[in-house]
Subunit: 419 residues, 2 copies
């Protein structure tokens, strides 16, 4: 028994951790309970029950099936459910009327054939990716209602009443859901997408910073903050894996009415473009982080030579990303983004110059006028084989590539600002 | 009217293209229609209808909701639906018995509170990621059945009959679905995952090949096959974006009984690991493809110097991937994978040597004994600034990194072979 109690205790503890980690999950659960309890009133209160009768269960079912964490998803399902039911209801009554005219013998045949054909066609439309995002759920509800109403019509004689009751109870259920989801602490898909993009930008910037500083002054770091730095370094992985989330949020976002800073038809698709361009950056940061974990050690002298300009590139790029995040967050045109991008580009230029000077270091013959450098170069060339250059040079060129890709992010954000 | 006809014609044409592209979609649609028509017989045939009565609609609903393209997903939904209904049915009858003992005044209160609590708790369990993949749908059905049976209990007097009929119709619906999905051209999630991984490996190999050959002998290619090569080059993007698909397939795969070459508990999770390691390779190929599109032109002489060893690395890596794909496909231990990996590693070694010799080219002082090379180096150093080295060197080091990551793929595949 003590083992069981311990297990229950562990389970409760874990549940509490999840709840404390994201209180909105708890709020969502309470909202579901609330909506279901309200819809149960249709059973418990005599006058309401008399109005809809046994079909009150359709309202209960609708609430269970349609209620989702975000407003956008709930609206999508509500719209789809209502439209699918309407369309299928009318069609089913029509087909039933036609079938009942065709004689008792053919009626089941006509009904069966219509169910087969329409179910197949609706299923086919569900498999089309572009339709899927718009009315996947609606197509399912269409099949459901059609086969239900059409087939019941063979046995139930007040078919029109059945269709009418089903539609009215579904409207009761959906309106209740919409009220509860929008009035009690609403979670908007669009808002979620917006803050996901902003957070991801911050994570990218952090990763980039940690990557570069860790490579160039590993010893300077105190071991205390190492764990935190590791966590920051892994930030880009969130960006890599957030594609599916972004897409579904953008998809649901377009169903939402205007809320907070966003209008009804906010260009959510543009956020997907920003997300894609950020993912391109993240690919490069992935390559960068594999560089810093590489076994090929670079020569310290070369590292030192390039460290200041590399760090400048990384810090200016990350501050450009942070400024972009701020722009997206506040939805105001930032005056200093262009400045920061310019700074980033000049840092890139400087890094390229440093790389060039590295080549002078290597090839004394091309810079006969710089005596001092030459001696340095002799030192370098005699002690540093090219192999030890390669890691640093690779790192530098990946940094340059990251700067190029950040400009793509800047363009995407600017396009969002315009639209 | 002609405009409408044209639109309909275009629509049909597009639908035909989709159907021709993947005939299995059409088969799936036909299967849905078939299952629905069969389940409709419960309405059309007197003896069957007498058996279940108006509740036959639950069987129809079950078929519509549960029928999915793959066997695994259908089984997952069937199991969840049956278990959720059973559990909720028993619990609801119990709660109803308890509530009916507590007096007429308290009955609605007890029922309402139980609906609120259980619905909230079940919703909470749905939000837990690890539970989500196992019984997300089951939890929804649990809430649905519980509130339906418990709340109806207040008005319906033969509650036990209601619960019993709901369970038996759901069992009829699910068994029909399972029969149709498994007997008529079944599509297995596991099989799909298996071939997705194999195809993705081939795509990776193609991308890698095209990348390297395009960089080193751009002129040698005929423009005719350019389009095809472009398509092959983009292959790695499929690998980058297939994470979500892989995960859901692996998730559904574990519900499937043994089929074809796979046993009941085939280690599908291992496929996810292979997929993840392949994605790591794809990130590098992404970086590689940005290298070949880079504006910084490399010096031809350096390109020539490294081209043979780079091409050797890329071709040996891609043939190692192809062999891995073959191993996974046939599920037989390949005798030559180790050989190919060895070849790849020696190609990497050769490339590293070439890079080293490049350093001798640059630093004549370190190789005083090689007169011939020295003259070559003087030529090189006077004509080629280091800047023009960088693109090739970066490319070479990314190629080396890819080879390292391919070894991770090899390890993952070997682990799969063991388990």
């Amino acid at each position: 028994i003590s083992g069981l109690a311990l297990k229950v205790w562990m389970f409760l503890k874990r549940a509490w951790a999840i709840a404390a980690n994201d209180p909105r999950k708890v709020i969502h659960c309470i909202k579901v309970g609330l909506a279901l309890t309200i819809v149960s009133l249709f059973y418990f209160m005599r006058p309401l029950y008399d109005g809809v009768g046994r079909n009150a269960m359709w309202a209960v079912m609708t609430v269970v099936v349609v209620f989702e964490p975000t407003v956008g998803e709930t609206l999508y399902k509500c719209m789809n459910r209502v439209c699918g039911t309407f369309l299928a209801g009318f069609l089913a009554v029509g087909v039933h009327w036609f079938a009942s005219r065709s004689g008792e013998r053919f009626e089941p045949l006509v009904m069966g054939a219509s169910v087969f054909l329409l179910a197949s066609a609706a299923t086919f439309s569900r498999l089309n990716p572009s339709a899927k995002s718009l009315f996947d759920y609606g197509a399912m509800i269409f099949i459901l209602t059609f086969s239900f109403v059409a087939v019941s019509g063979y046995r139930v004689h007040k078919l029109f009443d059945l269709a009418h009751q089903r539609i009215s109870t579904i409207i009761i259920g959906t309106s209740l859901c919409i009220l509860v989801i929008m009035l009690v602490c609403p979670i908007w898909s669009g808002q979620e997408l917006h803050s996901l993009i902003v957070h991801n930008m911050d994570k990218l910037a952090d990763s980039l910073d940690v990557c570069a500083t860790r490579y160039f002054n590993h010893s300077g770091e105190c071991t205390n903050s190492n764990e935190e730095a590791d966590k920051k370094l892994q930030g880009y992985k969130c960006v890599l894996s957030s594609k599916a989330t972004e897409e579904s949020m953008a998809n649901f976002g377009r169903w939402e009415p205007s809320h907070g800073q966003f209008n009804f038809r906010h260009p959510w698709k543009q956020y997907l473009k920003i997300g894609a361009s950020m993912r391109c950056c993240a690919y490069c940061i992935e390559a960068l982080s594999s560089c810093i974990n590489s076994e090929n050690k670079a020569a310290e002298s070369i590292k030192k030579h390039l460290s200041s300009s590399c760090l400048k590139v990384s810090s200016s790029s990350s501050s450009a990303i942070r400024e972009l995040a701020e722009t997206v967050k506040t939805m105001k045109k930032s005056s200093i983004v262009d400045l920061l991008v310019g700074e980033m580009n000049s840092a890139v230029q400087e890094l390229q110059n440093d790389l060039k000077s590295l080549s002078y270091l290597l090839n004394p013959s091309t810079t006969p006028e710089k005596k001092k450098l030459e001696t340095a170069c002799i030192e370098a060339t005699t002690t540093v084989p090219l192999m030890e250059f390669i890691p640093v040079v690779t790192l530098a060129s990946i940094l340059i590539e990251i700067a190029v890709r950040i400009e793509a992010v800047v363009d995407a954000v600017e396009e969002l600002a315009k639209s």
